[in-house]
Subunit: 222 residues, 2 copies
DNA sequence: CTGTATCCATGGCGATACTG
DNA sequence: CAGTATCGCCATGGATACAG
């Protein structure tokens, strides 16, 4: 966080915000994560030491507030931090418009399921228990199969078979599933071209159940 | 520019944009600078090697376009780069609202005059030549005196006496002048409290001539 | 669960000089 | 004017282990 030697407000903002991981931590807080390990789950490649350091810096800067509730610490955004929402959303909108290509290293199934799990449109899922399976064709067997268990408004991500009956199973390449989630690819077209297949009694409902990430709605450049 | 290992558009955007100086270079391009040395003037503490590297990275990313006009290279933003304007403006608005305190190292008179020189409201200046002097009380003598020469829509910054008659001279601390320029402080109050004094025949017009930086209009938190 | 403590390698970046 | 070239430091941050 060394100084740029400028009085310009953009420079002063960037002194705090342009350090590696910082805005991604804020993105997680904006998304509603409040606990240390949730923040880690949203940024799995960030070391805990560095996360701790970033949180402390943001707290000193008045962007993050740390509180202790029955021995558990929780992190929330102050009004100053909350005001970074348009900036982070603007960066996301820009990113999805202009950074189209994803490298292999960007395709993390855990991150995909974690993101799906927290923005899923629960209101369109049936009541009772619904289990949705994923099978990714092109990743290591150990992390190729995932389950989403939705039980009366509660969502769980499993990387091991929970044992319940499956309402449907989605089979595709991880890259394809991520492109669908990001809105780079549309469900009808992907199904028609056999880029993805859905089996099970509730196969027709899966696209509706999953939806897209919020930024998927951003228009793309012509 | 190492990868975050995430498909999230915010993360992909930050892979490119969170490197030191990058968004400040883009800020300069958004402000209208097109030549290498103009970009340097806007970021005087950035080494030319690093500026060169950043420009190349941004060009590869499709954000900056480099062109040669009669042997002079010029840099302009592509549509993708131009679309970063709301992000940079958002960061500036956030910065001026929430990062109030400026360190001594942020108070660069050259940067102040350079910024004034390019956003000055020429339409309210008289026709013919007008010369405005600055005297900063609290900086090293070598960089304490500056002149702004406005000649029929052309603005020049001088760090040596141009020799013309002065329409007015502004005398104040550099910090105070910067606070006025940023809109942290208002001219009437500063004059009344003798934080700044203006001498010369056109003394009354100086606040109007100078105006403020654009972000000065941003409302501050209560 | 919520972090701290250490260690270490890397390479980013600052400084300076120089060139066509 | 518009950059390259070179050098070397040190801080950043990645990895891992461990602790209250």
């Amino acid at each position: 966080m060394s100084s740029y030697g400028q009085f310009c407000p953009v420079a002063k903002a960037m002194e705090l915000l342009d350090e590696r991981w910082t805005l991604l931590v804020i993105r997680e807080l904006l998304a509603g994560s409040t606990h240390f390990n949730d923040l880690r789950r949203g940024n799995p490649k960030m070391s805990p030491a560095l996360l701790s350091k970033r949180l402390r810096t943001l707290e000193r800067a008045g962007v993050v507030r740390r509180e202790l509730h029955d021995g558990r610490s929780s992190y929330t955004l102050t009004p100053a931090g909350e005001e970074l929402r348009p900036v982070v959303e603007g960066l996301g909108a820009w990113g999805i418009r202009w950074i189209g290509s994803l490298g292999e290293e960007d395709l993390d199934p855990h991150l995909l399921l974690w993101d799906i799990h927290r923005t899923i449109p629960l209101e369109v899922w049936p009541s009772g228990r619904t289990v949705l399976g994923f099978e990714f064709a092109d990743v290591a067997p150990r992390i190729a199969r995932w389950w989403l268990c939705v039980t009366d408004g509660d969502v769980d991500v499993c990387d091991a078979d929970p044992g319940f009956d499956l309402s449907a199973t989605v089979t595709t390449r991880l890259r394809t599933m991520i492109r669908l989630w990001r809105g780079d690819l549309r469900w009808p077209g992907a199904l028609k071209e056999d880029l993805v297949s859905i089996s099970g009694v509730a196969a027709r409902d899966v696209p509706l159940w999953l939806g897209h990430m919020k930024l998927a709605a951003v228009e793309r450049p012509a």
